[in-house]
Amino acid sequence: MLKSFLAAATLAVALAGAALPQAVEARTLDEIMKSGVIRVGVNPTLPPLGKFDDKNEIVGFDVDYAGEIAKLLGVKLEVVQVGSPDRIPFVASGKIDFVMGAMTRNTERAKVIDFTVPVHTEVLGVLTTKANTFTDWKQFDDPSVTFVQVRGSTPVKFIEENLKNAKVTLLDNYPDAVRALAQGRGTAMIDVIDFMGDHMSKHKVEWRIVETPIDVYYCSLGVAKNSTGLKDWLNIAVYDLYRKGKTTELWKKWFGMDMIKPVGAQPFF
């Protein structure tokens, strides 16, 4: 039996070694232009940033915005579907050239991928139901509270750091998380309330938004680490789209209102 075990252990180690990949190279700006296609990751569960239309194609602010970038670069746009937990591995492994989908820039993520200058902001709020009567987000720091959150999304860390007494249930996507909240599996959800409208309307629940903006995050385009040429070009493109009013126009088209907290583009970008 010992021999069998040693054989199994050796095989396991060998397989683990074989499984370690030669890292896939992220494409340079030149390679993207030469190929004629830029691959952009969009999360279709964050309407109106990204969602499926009647033809089951991904549309939304992110798709239009990425289309403008592709136009500026003179290449075709290829939209790649990503989810909250896998969007960073997709960029880091070179499967896509950059990722959108509410990519909040933070120091943890910046250890793994690079960020451009911000494209838009997201203002966090608390989504709950009429059953809950709290009026301030800090009241949710209570053991009786269970947050239903999306795995890998920015507010998870915010709750860990600021609402330590509350419990958290993590699900994989926004439709499931909002449905779980509607079914009474949790007390509240902290996220960008602007993105929740589509999901909330699918459930016959008396929703309530706690009227206290919690925090403001800046969302950028996420690119592979050290792809400096691409990042530099994207920075200029993002500034250009802001300066020409294209970003504001697209935001209004999809959100039906101005950005609550505009980025405030400057030439020093």
Binding site: M1, S4, F5, A7, A8, A12, A16, A19, L20, P21, A23, E25, A26, S84, P85, I88, P89, A92, G94, E108, R109, K111, V112, I113, V148, R151, G152, V156, K157, T169, L170, L171, D172, D176, R179, A180, Q183, G184, R185, A224, K225, N226, S227
Partner: protein, 224 residues
Amino acid sequence: MSYTLQYGQIWPFLPRLLEGAVVSLQIAVLAFCGGLFIGTACAAIRTFGPRWLARVAGLYVVFFTNTPQLVQIYFLYFALPDMGILLSSFAAVVIGMTLNAGAYLTEIQRAGFESRRASEMEAAEVMGFTRLQQIRYVILPHVARVLFPPLSNQFIIVTLGTSMAAVFGVEELTGEAFNINSQTFRSIEVFTVTAGIYVVLTLAASVALAFMGRALFRARTELI
């Protein structure tokens, strides 16, 4: 771009992965034991029970072996609340996995029951055993020996299947791996360590079951 392995970032999270492994084992043991109970009952019904009841058990098996386990748990977790039944994540996963394991264990055990020797049954009948006594004293000891290896395999399958509990917010081994991955983004390191823990977990279970099989039923199980 070259990738530098950084296992140092993962080791601080090892206790969380091990806690997750304990939850995985809890789900596996509960689902397997429950499934074994259901499977034994349904296999007995399908082999010895009245025809209509055998058909009902057959329908149960057909339904659960021809639909994905993920869909079954999804139904329990997200569809039942619309009918007023709210199961916790853990309960939905355990019940779903139990019902699924029960269907497969029914078929495994039915094969075992049908491998019984006619001469044994005739001897039992001559001795005046009731049908229940025949199952309890003649058939079960015989089939236990034959069935132990496939049952052990099924336990491993159930153990690995617990990974889908992560989808429903249960922080078992895979769920913890997902969480750590979303914090560190060291996917290769996180999932290599997680895979290693699964290998250790299932090999340990295989060894324990092999010893148990030899001690209780003289069943020989080849590990590799």
